[in-house]
Symmetry: C2
C-alpha cells in the first residue's frame, strides 16, 4: 500500500505516476520506468473505488518517499482521491484499442467503431505518448481513405460535447494555420453577427504559432467560457469569439495535438477531421475554410491546397456541413503585428477604420465575410462583399464587436512590452516575400504568446521597397534576454526577407549610373 | 538566468527539463510544455560552455523555484555543471536528422550517412520520445530493404564502442526472446570456452521479460563490467557472461528499446540490426542465432522465422559475420524456473548434472554449443554434440563456469522468496502447451526481475499429465501483495495451460467407465 501524493507537474495530457526507486529495490513492486501502472484506492468519504492508469517514472527522496506514489496534475485530478489516501499500484496493460492502431499500422482499415473505441480511450487519457504517436502516424501519410476520415470525424464529434443553436443557418469559419497575424475571425464575426446571423466561433490558442485567435481575443476579453455562458452570449449577441479548449468540443484533438506538434508530418486527414469535428460540434451548418498557400506557410503548393479542399468537401458533405473553400496566396504575415497584443491593435485599427489600418487584414476579412453571407443566402451573390463593407465602414461591426467583448467580459488592453528594438534590412530592393515560419519564430523567441505584449511589428509590407540599413521590423519583448534572443536570430537569418529580382532603383529608368 | 538543479527523476533516456510555471507567467520565457529547450551555462572551473537539450515539463514550487531549472538524472549528468550554476534556457529545434526520419515515413530510402546522422543524434539523447517513436515506426513494418538494414546495422556499430579480441574465431550466440527461462547462454559459454574458443558474451537485462540472461547471471556474479575488465576476463578465461549495457556496444539500441517495448509492433529490421550490431561490436566472427517459434513466443510462425533467417543471413554476410540459424519449437518456457534466482538454480542443476536437472535446457544448450563447435571448425561435423556433451558430463563445463564467475566476481546466491503459493490445475489431461507470454506476466506480477527471487516454478512440463486440482506451478514473491496479484492473475487465466485433445485416462484403454 502507498499513500497518494499530488505532484503538480503539468505533463500535458500524459498521466505520470512517480514512485521511489527504493520501492522497487525493497521489493514492493516489479516495475520498470515507462511501464504502465494502475493506481487504485477507495475514496474515504464516498467509499467507491477509484483508479487511474499512467506511465511510471522513478525518482529518489526529493519527490516522493518510498511509501508514497506521486501523481501528475491531471492524473491526481482524474483519480479524485485526497492526498495521503491509501492506494495500490499494479502493472497495467495497454488499452485493447491499441491493437486496432497496430492493425492500422500494418495496413488495415479502421471502422467507425474502431475510431470510436480508440478516441474514447484517448479522451480518458489511457494512451501514453508513444501510443498517441503510433495513432497519429497510423492516420498520417495519406493512409486513411475518405470513408475512414468521415468515420474518424464522426468519432471525434461523438467523444466530445456538442452545442445546439437550432436549425440555423449557423455560420462558422476556419483558417488553416501557418500565417502569422491572420486574425480575420475578430472582424468576420462582428460583421456576420451584426447582420443577424448566428456565429458561435471557437478558436484555439497558439499551438506552434506566436498567437492563436483565442490568445489575441484574450487580451481584450475573457475567452475561457463554459458551454452555458457561451450559449447565453450567442443567444444575446448572435456570436462569440471564445477559446474552444474550455468547452470540450472534440477533445481528442486537443490531446493528439500534443504529439502532432513536435512530429511535423503531413496529417491531412487529422487536420480535416479535427477542424470539421469542431465545427459540427458547435452545430455549424455553413463553414468557410480559409486555405492560405505559400512557400513558407503550412500549405506550400496549390496542388496540396486542391487535394485538401477535395477532402474537406467530401467529409463535410457526409457529416452534413456545407463548406466553401477560399484559397489565397500567403507571401508573408497578414497585418503588421505578430503576437497577441500587436495583433489586437491591428484588428482594432480595421474595426475603427483608422488610416493606418492594415489593408490586407481588412480585405481578407471582408472577402471571407462575403463568402459566408452568400453561401447562407443571407445576401444574394455578388452583393456579399458590398454588404460586408457597408457593415464595417458604418461602424456597425465595431459596435457589434464591443457588444461581444462586453458580453464575454471586457479586459484592459495590456501595456506595450518593456523592450523594443529595430531590425534593419541587410538587403535592398522590393520585398517579394516574408518567411512566415521565421517571422513566427522571432516572435516566439521574443516571448509570444506567453508574454502577450511581445512579438514582432513589421515596418514594411510585401511590395514595399527597402534600402540596406532601413528599419524592417521591431521586436517587442518583456526581458532583455528575450529581446537579445529574438534580435540575434533575426540578424543571423537574412533569408527572412526575400527581394524581387529587379533591383530597387530610385533613379528614373532612362538615366545610366 | 536560472540556477540549475538536479532532479533525480529517472526518465530513462529522455532528457526532461523542468521549469516553474510562474517562470513563464512572469515573462521570463515563452515556452509550452513538451517544447524542446536548450539549457546552456559556463562551467565555473573549466570555463567552457556546456549545453543540453531536453523536453520541457512545467511544475509548481514542489520541484523547482521560479528562478531554478530542474534537470532529470541523465540530463544533469550530460550537462556536467554543478548545482546552482547559472544557466540560460532557450527554445531549441529538433535535430536536423529528424527531417530524414520524416522523409523515410513518407516512403523514401535512408542512406548509410542518414542512418549514421540519426543514430548519432539518438545516442546523444537529442531525440524526444515522440521522435524516437517516429524513427522506430519509420523502420518497422517491413519498410527497410536489406541494403538499408545493412546500413542501419553498420551505423549502430559505428555509433558505439567496439572490442577487439583478435582475428578469431570469436564465437557468440543470441536467442531471440519471448521464451521464459531460455538461459542456454550460461551453459553454452562454459562448454565453448572450456574447449579453448573465445566467447565474449554480452547479454541484456530483462526488457519485457521476467529475467534477461544478465539478470540471471547477476544473482551469481558481477555482470556490470567495464570494457577493460571484460577484456581482461576474456583474455584470462576465454569468455564472460556480462551485461551489455555497461560496455556501450551499439548504444542506440538501448535507447530505441525504451519506445519499442510499449509499441509491440513488428520491428524485424530493428531486431536484426541491433542483434548483429551488438555481435559485430564485440568482434564476433561466428554467431549462432536461436529462433524459438511458437504460438505464444515472439516469433509465431515458421514462415516468419524463415523470413527473419534470410534477413539475418544477408545482413551478417555484408558486415562480415558468419551466422547459423537454429529454429526450434517453443511450446512453453525452457527449464522449470522463471525469474532470476529460479532460473539460476536450473542452470546450476544442468552444470552439476543433478538428477532433477531440466532436460530441455540441457539438450537445447548442447545443441547450440554443437552448432558453434562445428561452424568454427573446432570440431568436425557431426561430432559437435558429442564433444559438447563430454565437456558438460565430465564437469569441465561446471569448473569453467566457476572460473568465469570468480573472474567476474562471485556473488552469494540470494535466499528464496518470502512467500510462495501453489497454483492448481483447473483443467485436466496431457499438457500440450504453456502460454509463454502469460507465464512471463505472472512472474512479473510476482516481482521478477526487480525481485531476483520472485517468479514462477513450473511443477509440470509439456507432455506431463495433470489432474484437476493437481499442483501446476508455484508463485514466489517477496510481499503478500505481489503474491496476491500473481496468484489472482494465474487463477483467472486458465488458458495459460493447454491440454491435448485426447483426455488423460489413467485406466487401461480396454475398460469402459
Amino acid at each position: 500500500m502507498f499513500k497518494v501524493k499530488h505532484l503538480p507537474i503539468d505533463t500535458l495530457r500524459e498521466h505520470v505516476i512517480t514512485i521511489h526507486q527504493n520501492a522497487v529495490r525493497n521489493g514492493n513492486l516489479g516495475f520498470n520506468p515507462l511501464d504502465r501502472a494502475q493506481v487504485r484506492g477507495v475514496h474515504p468519504v464516498t467509499g467507491d473505488m477509484r483508479e487511474v492508469v499512467g506511465v511510471l517514472n522513478f525518482c529518489s527522496d526529493l519527490l516522493v518517499q518510498p511509501d508514497e506514489i506521486g501523481l501528475s496534475e491531471q492524473a491526481f485530478h482524474d483519480l479524485g482521491l485526497p492526498e495521503g489516501c491509501a492506494v495500490t499500484a499494479t502493472l497495467a496493460t495497454a488499452p485493447e484499442s491499441v491493437d486496432l492502431v497496430r492493425a492500422k499500422l500494418r495496413g488495415g482499415r479502421l471502422s467507425r467503431g474502431a475510431f470510436h473505441e480508440i478516441l474514447t480511450d484517448i479522451c480518458a487519457h489511457r494512451y501514453s505518448r508513444v501510443e498517441l504517436t503510433m495513432f497519429v502516424l497510423a492516420c498520417a501519410l495519406k493512409t486513411l481513405d475518405s470513408v475512414e476520415v468521415v468515420d474518424y470525424t464522426q468519432a471525434m464529434i461523438d467523444t466530445g460535447a456538442t452545442l445546439d443553436f437550432g436549425p440555423g443557418p449557423i455560420a462558422d469559419k476556419h483558417s488553416v494555420g501557418g500565417v502569422p497575424g491572420n486574425r480575420t475571425t475578430m472582424i468576420v464575426v462582428p460583421i456576420i453577427t451584426a447582420l443577424g446571423l448566428k456565429m458561435p466561433k471557437t478558436s484555439s490558442r497558439a499551438i506552434t504559432s506566436p498567437a492563436g485567435t483565442a490568445d489575441t481575443m484574450g487580451v481584450m476579453a475573457e475567452v475561457a467560457l463554459s458551454a452555458s455562458r457561451l450559449r447565453q452570449i450567442v443567444e444575446s449577441t448572435g456570436g462569440c469569439i471564445a477559446w474552444g479548449g474550455a468547452v470540450n468540443l472534440a477533445p481528442a484533438d486537443d490531446i493528439l495535438i500534443t504529439v502532432e506538434r513536435p512530429m511535423e508530418v503531413d496529417t491531412e486527414a487529422q487536420m480535416v477531421a479535427s477542424i470539421l469535428a469542431k465545427k459540427k460540434s458547435v452545430g455549424a451548418t455553413h463553414v468557410v475554410i480559409d486555405l492560405p498557400v505559400g512557400r513558407t506557410a503550412k500549405i506550400a503548393t496549390a496542388d496540396a491546397a486542391r487535394e485538401l479542399s477535395d477532402l474537406f468537401r467530401v467529409v463535410a458533405a457526409r457529416i452534413g456541413v456545407r463548406v466553401e473553400i477560399v484559397i489565397s496566396a500567403a507571401l508573408g504575415p497578414i497585418g503588421r503585428g505578430i503576437g497577441p497584443r500587436l495583433e489586437a491593435l491591428d484588428v482594432m485599427k480595421v474595426l475603427r477604420r483608422e488610416p493606418g489600418a492594415p489593408a490586407d487584414l481588412r480585405e481578407k476579412s471582408l472577402h471571407l465575410a462575403a463568402r459566408i453571407l452568400e453561401m447562407t443566402d443571407h445576401v444574394a451573390a455578388p452583393y456579399g462583399y458590398a454588404t460586408a463593407r457597408r457593415v464595417l465602414d458604418s461602424g456597425e461591426a465595431l459596435r457589434q464587436f464591443q457588444r461581444i467583448v462586453e458580453a464575454q467580459g471586457a479586459r484592459q488592453l495590456p501595456p506595450p512590452a518593456l523592450y523594443c528594438e529595430t531590425i534593419k534590412s541587410s538587403g535592398e530592393g522590393r520585398i517579394s516575400e516574408f518567411d512566415c515560419w521565421e517571422i513566427a519564430r522571432i516572435a516566439k523567441l521574443a516571448g509570444a504568446p506567453a508574454n502577450v505584449s511581445a512579438g514582432v511589428l513589421l515596418l514594411k509590407n510585401v511590395g514595399d521597397v527597402a534600402a540596406r540599413g532601413e528599419p524592417l521590423m521591431e521586436v517587442h519583448a518583456e526581458s532583455a534576454m528575450q529581446l537579445e534572443f529574438a534580435r540575434e536570430y533575426a540578424n543571423t537569418h537574412p533569408d527572412i526577407v526575400q527581394f524581387a529580382a529587379e533591383k530597387a532603383d530610385p533613379k528614373p529608368r532612362g538615366e545610366k549610373p
